[in-house]
Structure formats: structure tokens, C-alpha cells
């Protein structure tokens, strides 16, 4: 292996890459679009729950409860209705996703030592949204109910503690539960997977299409030198992308970066290895750029869905959970989220690092040996 030959090969690749405007587009535009999309859109935060209110009691108590809902940052009272029929129409049409129905005699029953009727209706179609919204509603209702119970007991001359259990939730790593904090580290992993794989596959297939791969093969370059030279630009561009996203994430979206930045940088190549290997594989089985795109798409779709990027792996059925152990991106997402949000060091990341390393060597090694066989 000669350094100068690798260097010339790299130089050629860089020049070619810079000439193709589409590649520049591929390097800078997707990360930015994705960051904006995922940073602003991919929020599973449940806020502004549109609420319809039906107050059949028209009393001080019912208005107090409605005020509690109005005062909550999670609910937006959209309409006040006068019949149950209207609630049905509003929910059917999707104009509101929640409704409270305060029955007649609400106040009288509270004052008279009875159970007052209160119905909360939630659009369950989006199950997670409904679970969280239902949780918010029940917190408001139980606080209201506890206060009334205290008053009721006080009227009997009893000063008792109503809730003998104080649950104090403490949330680590993402105290305000902001989705963006979870998404941005994930995007780094996603883009690296997509970018390096697609670009390296296309880079090689392009040479195939133009017939220039033959020319490269007859030069004194060894297959290893050829590959290193070919892949180096993609490694560099991925690193640029990582810096871009991390910078944007930290300074624009204010995602906390608690860990060691240099640890992250040193683990990035570990993930590049399997991505480059896959790209190489794709280039071997595709004869045109169109085919490479299609194959890449077919590989990426399930990879992204099963990586844990949006859908938690823990909730998948066991067979599929097992399959995810063979996806390098799964480990990398854990690593990058660990460094970003948990600020943990290598001693905690080790269980993710070694499988990633093995997979990387395996995939890359296999791809290279296939490549060598093919060109010799």
C-alpha cells in the first residue's frame, strides 16, 4: 500500500464530488431539511389539547372545575356546547379531541355528600396522545376532588391528610420531556447511515456506469487502496454532517450535550464502517444508479423504522427485537443518545460498542472481500 497512490485517488474523488452539484446538495440540504422537520415537527409532546365543555350544572362548582381546565397549559377550551349530540359531532369531525361533560346536580351532590357525575371523553384514535391527555385530565380532576373532600371532612370537623402517598417523580436526562432532545441525537445517526451508505454506493456505481471502474482497476492501485481512496471523501463529508447537526442541535434547538464530544467523534468511525460496507454491497449488486437508489431505499426503510429512532425497540415483538441486534444503527443510536443526554462515558457504552465493532468489521470485511473477488 502506497500513501501517495491513496492520496491521488482521494484527490480525484474530491474533485469529482465537488463538480457534481447534486452531491453537494445531498451533503448539505438533507441534514438541514431533516433537522428542521424533526426538530420542529417530530414532537410527540401533548400540548394544546382541544377541549369541548358541556356544563349542564351552571354552578359555582362546575365553573371552578372548568377554570381549572382553562388554567392548565395542556388544554385549550375550544367550544362550549349545550348538548351531548354536539360533543359527538365535534369529536367525529375532529374539531376537538377531548370533551368534559359536567352533569346536572354536580354542585348539589358535592355539597350533599354524594358522588358528583363527571364524564371526560377522549378521542382514543391516537392512543398515545389519548393516554397522556387522559393523564393530564385525571390530575386536574383528582386535585379538584381532593380539595372538595377536604372541605367535606372539615365540615364534619375532621382535619385529615387525604393522600398519604406523595409520589415525587424525578425525570432524568430530559427534565422537561422535550421530544427534540430525543430526536436530534437520533438524526445524527440516521443521516450518517443514509448519507454514507447512499453516497458511497452511488460513487462506485457511477464509475461502473461510465465504465471508468475498469480504468481504475488496470491502474497500479490495489483494491484496498482503491477503496480507501474512494471512501475517504464520504468519511469526511459524514464528519462535516455530524458537526453541522450537533452544532445546530446544541445552539439552535438547545439540546443539552452532557457527554464528551471527543468520545463521540472517536466512536463515529465505528459506525461509518458498517455503513460504508453496506454501501459497497449495494454497489456490487446494482448496475445503474437508479437500481442503487432503489436498493438503498429498500434497505433503509426498514432499517430506520426498526432502529429505535421513533418507535421504541423494547415494545416490538421478541422476534423483531432479536432481528434488531443485527442492525448497526441500533447500537449507534444508543451510544449517541447516551453521550448527548445521559453524559455517560465509555464504561457505560461498552455493551453497545463491542457489538457495533464486530458488526462493522464483519459487514465491511465481507463487502471488501466480495469487491476484491469481483474486480480480480
Amino acid at each position: 500500500m502506497k500513501q501517495s497512490r491513496i492520496f491521488y485517488m482521494m484527490r480525484k474523488e474530491f474533485i469529482q464530488m465537488m463538480r457534481d452539484k447534486r452531491v453537494i446538495f445531498l451533503i448539505f440540504i438533507p441534514p438541514l431539511i431533516q433537522l428542521i422537520m424533526f426538530g420542529y415537527v417530530a414532537t410527540t409532546d401533548v400540548r394544546h389539547i382541544s377541549l369541548a365543555v358541556l356544563d349542564e350544572d351552571h354552578s359555582v362548582m362546575s365553573r371552578a372545575l372548568i377554570e381549572d381546565f382553562r388554567g392548565s397549559p395542556n388544554f385549550d377550551i375550544k367550544v362550549t356546547v349545550t348538548s351531548k349530540r354536539e360533543i359527538r359531532d365535534l369529536l367525529d369531525g375532529g374539531r376537538v379531541v377531548a370533551a368534559i361533560d359536567i352533569g346536572r346536580g354536580f354542585e348539589r351532590k358535592i355539597l350533599r355528600n354524594e358522588s358528583a357525575p363527571l364524564q371526560v371523553i377522549l378521542d382514543g384514535a391516537d392512543s398515545n396522545f389519548a393516554t397522556i391527555a387522559g393523564g393530564y385530565a385525571s390530575v386536574i380532576v383528582s386535585k379538584f376532588s381532593n380539595d372538595r373532600l377536604k372541605e367535606r371532612l372539615a365540615r364534619q370537623g375532621i382535619n385529615a391528610e387525604i393522600s398519604p402517598l406523595e409520589m415525587k417523580p424525578r425525570i432524568w436526562f430530559n427534565e422537561e420531556l422535550k421530544s427534540v432532545n430525543y430526536m436530534v441525537p437520533g438524526i445524527v445517526g440516521m443521516l450518517m447511515a443514509i448519507g454514507t451508505m447512499m453516497l458511497s454506493a452511488l460513487g462506485i456505481v457511477k464509475e461502473k456506469e461510465h465504465g471508468t471502474l475498469e480504468q481504475l482497476i488496470v491502474t497500479p492501485l490495489t483494491p484496498a487502496e482503491l477503496l480507501i481512496g474512494k471512501m475517504a471523501p464520504y468519511v469526511v463529508t459524514s464528519l462535516i454532517q455530524v458537526l453541522l447537526i450537533v452544532g445546530f442541535g446544541v445552539f439552535w434547538f438547545r439540546v443539552p450535550f452532557r457527554g464528551d464530544f471527543f468520545l463521540l467523534l472517536s466512536l463515529v468511525p465505528l459506525f461509518l464502517l458498517p455503513s460504508l460496507g453496506l454501501g459497497l454491497f449495494i454497489s456490487l449488486i446494482s448496475s445503474s444508479q437508479y437500481q442503487a437508489f432503489l436498493t438503498g431505499f429498500l434497505v433503509l426503510q426498514p432499517t430506520i423504522m426498526l432502529s429505535g429512532f421513533i418507535f421504541p425497540i423494547r415494545n416490538m415483538p421478541p422476534v423483531i427485537q432479536f432481528a434488531t441486534y443485527f442492525l448497526p444503527i441500533r447500537y449507534f443510536l444508543e451510544i449517541i443518545r447516551g453521550i448527548f443526554l445521559k453524559g455517560v462515558g465509555i464504561e457505560y457504552l461498552w455493551p453497545q460498542v463491542w457489538p457495533l465493532m464486530i458488526l462493522g468489521i464483519l459487514i465491511f470485511g465481507l463487502a471488501v472481500s466480495r469487491f476484491k473477488k469481483k474486480i480480480s
Binding site: 394544546h48 357525575p117 377522549l122 415483538p317
Partner: protein, 378 residues
């Protein structure tokens, strides 16, 4: 005119039949995607990995812990001795919630004083954490209430006080068991259709451009309108086959209920196909080659469709500017329609605004691609 449209459609059919890749995309991908995603993708939060640090170690604290282990939401995997062990379990990602019971727990519970229990949650996945938190709250407040009434009962003359101030009755309509699959499968159907339609049509005209056969079409007596219609018709038929396929799999295999009219669903799917295919055609009039067509359909349709249509991420939680932008995403309207018919069982009287939007969008897309096509040819 009709003859010429049929001729173009016929020619397109022959192309499709000859290229096995297209047929593969049409049949295999929808089935694979809906099977894989139907099984793999769930937003349900069950079996949360839990660790409990019990400093009290009494009958009462164990009773409290059993409230968690008996629910289907929590799997208590570890009983660490120290809080620091709990912390490293969370750091390692082995558990996502830890419950710490203080040493004086049973003493305080029996004497009716408030006992402090701490729940430590791994918040890195904000969504899972929020749901976990609400489960923890529900279980502990139920326990607290039960204990409160026990200790109040001991005070004595309370038999005439009703502790149930409010008969709280939450109902979840449309999806009472709150299964996320009922939410995701209709969305998945919409995404698959959108993807196939744009991918296939955007490649069809570009393919003619690349192979140079477009010149032949241009010099023939066909009008642009006829050419575009003839190109769309075969894909409408193929896509319609896909619609039947994925809807059948979703409802028969995954048991997602269809509460509304199936005929209305098919009829409105046509409207959606028109906008999706029109969009694909528009892309292909702009793109010069397959690669560009692919790139453009990914970034102009796929990504916005997945992100902004309300497929997973609720539109109401987005910033206002993006909420406005979501109005030009045809999938948004189709999602309202498909979820409305599947889950809510509503009819045209409720869905007409979305149907109208799809219709306008479809007409606009087809007209636009016809006019773009004319300009390019002259």
C-alpha cells in the same frame, strides 16, 4: 380522443408487464411493509423495565410494589440495594424507571401521615417517559386513596362521609383499548399508497425521457392531455389493487375495525390517488433523469408526507407555520378520511371538507403537470 387515451394506457401496461421490477414494487412492497410495520411498530408502552429500591422491606411496602408488578405496564426486573445501583442501571439503559421506597414508608402509611415515594424516570425518550409517568401516578394515587380511606375509617364516625366526591368516568372513544395499531395501520396504508404512486409515476415519464422514446410520443398526434391521462390510468388500476390489498390485510389480518362504509372508503381513495399520481407526474415533468426524480419525490413528497400529515406526529402540537404548511399535504386529508371511516365510522356528511380538498388538489396537480408538459415540449 378516447381511443388515443386507451392506446397510451395499453402501451403503458405492456411496459409494466415487461418490467418485472415494477410489478414487484406494486405487489411485494405493500405486503412486506404492512406486515413488518404492523408487527414491529407500536407506540404502546407496556412492559416498562422497572427497578425498585425498597428500604422499608415490610409487608406494606411489598404490597405497594405488587400494585406495580401486577399491572401489565411494569416489569420489575431488578431490586437493587442502593440508589447508586439504581442510577447505574438507568445510565446503562437496563431500566427506564426506578421506584425508591423510603425506610419509614410503612410507619407513615399506617399512621396516616404522607409517605414520600420517589420515581426516577429516564426521560430521554420524552414520549415513553410521559406515558410511564402517568401510569406511575395512576397506580400510586389509587393506592394512596385506598390507604386514605382505610385510615379515615379507623378514625370512627366517618360512615356518613362519602369519600368519593366525584364519580370520574373517563371514556376513550373510537379506540377504547387504546391500541396504537388501530392508529398506525390506517396511517401506514396512506403512506404506502403515497409512496408507491409518486415513485411509480415519477419514474414513468422520466423513463421515456431517458430512453429517448418521449420524442416519438411528442411527434405522434396525441394531445398532452391524452398522454397524461393515458399514463395515469394504468397506475390508478395498479394502485387500486394495492388499496384493496392493504385495506384487506389491515382489517382481516391485524383486526383494525372498519366502522364506516367500505364503498365510501374506496371511492375517496380514488380522489387521493389522483392527487398522489398527479404529484408524481408533476415531479417527472420537472426532473431530467431517474435519479433526480427519485430525489425530488423523496424530498418533496415522502418526507413531508411522513412528517407533516399527522401520521405519527400530531399536527396540533406543531408550530403554527408548519401547521399552515400541512394544509398542502394531500395525505393529511386522506388520513382524516381513512381514520374517520376506519375508527370513527363517520360518513360523507362529516368528511366532505377533506374530500373536497383532495378533489381540488388532484385537479390542480393534473392540470399543472399537463401545462408543464406542454411548455417543455414546445
Amino acid at each position: 380522443m378516447r381511443n388515443r387515451v386507451i392506446a397510451v394506457a395499453n402501451k403503458e401496461f405492456i411496459h409494466i408487464r415487461r418490467d418485472p421490477r415494477t410489478l414487484l414494487i406494486v405487489v411485494l412492497i405493500p405486503v412486506l411493509m404492512i406486515m413488518l410495520y404492523g408487527y414491529a411498530l407500536t407506540l404502546d408502552v407496556n412492559h416498562i423495565a422497572t427497578a425498585v429500591v425498597d428500604f422499608d422491606k415490610t409487608q406494606i411496602s411489598r404490597d405497594f410494589i405488587s400494585k406495580f408488578s401486577n399491572s401489565r405496564y411494569f416489569d420489575i426486573d431488578f431490586y437493587p440495594e442502593r440508589v447508586s445501583d439504581l442510577k447505574s442501571l438507568i445510565d446503562l439503559g437496563r431500566v427506564s424507571v426506578g421506584i425508591v421506597i423510603p425506610p419509614d414508608f410503612s410507619k407513615k402509611i399506617t399512621s396516616g401521615r404522607p409517605a414520600d415515594v420517589q420515581a426516577l424516570l429516564d426521560g430521554s425518550n420524552s414520549n415513553t417517559a410521559a406515558i410511564t409517568q402517568s401510569y406511575v401516578n395512576i397506580i400510586s394515587s389509587q393506592y394512596g386513596l385506598a390507604k386514605a380511606s382505610e385510615s379515615l375509617a379507623k378514625i370512627g364516625p366517618l360512615k356518613n362521609v362519602n369519600l368519593n366526591v366525584i364519580k370520574y368516568d373517563p371514556r376513550f372513544w373510537y379506540n377504547p383499548e387504546l391500541k396504537s395499531i388501530n392508529f398506525l395501520i390506517p396511517g401506514q396504508i396512506c403512506i404506502i399508497l403515497m409512496m408507491l404512486s409518486t415513485l411509480l409515476t415519477s419514474l414513468s415519464i422520466v423513463g421515456e425521457k431517458e430512453s429517448g422514446t418521449i420524442e416519438g410520443l411528442v411527434v405522434s398526434p396525441i394531445r398532452t392531455r391524452e398522454l397524461v391521462l393515458g399514463k395515469i390510468i394504468p397506475y390508478i388500476i395498479l394502485d387500486f389493487f394495492d388499496i384493496v390489498l392493504v385495506i384487506a390485510l389491515g382489517s382481516l389480518w391485524f383486526g383494525v375495525p372498519i366502522r364506516g362504509s367500505l364503498i365510501l372508503l374506496f371511492a375517496l381513495s380514488f380522489l387521493f390517488l389522483f392527487s398522489a399520481l398527479g404529484l408524481g407526474l408533476l415531479v417527472s415533468t420537472v426532473a431530467r433523469n431517474a435519479q433526480e426524480a427519485y430525489m425530488m419525490s423523496t424530498f418533496s413528497t415522502m418526507l413531508p408526507t411522513i412528517m407533516l400529515s399527522g401520521y405519527v406526529f400530531p399536527i396540533s402540537s406543531m408550530p403554527v407555520a408548519l401547521q399552515v404548511l400541512s394544509n398542502v399535504i394531500p395525505a393529511k386529508y386522506f388520513l382524516i378520511i381513512i381514520r374517520g371511516i376506519f375508527l370513527k365510522g363517520v360518513g360523507l356528511s362529516t368528511l366532505w371538507p377533506s374530500a373536497l380538498a383532495l378533489f381540488i388538489f388532484g385537479v390542480l396537480m393534473v392540470t399543472l403537470s399537463v401545462s408543464r408538459f406542454k411548455k417543455r415540449l414546445t
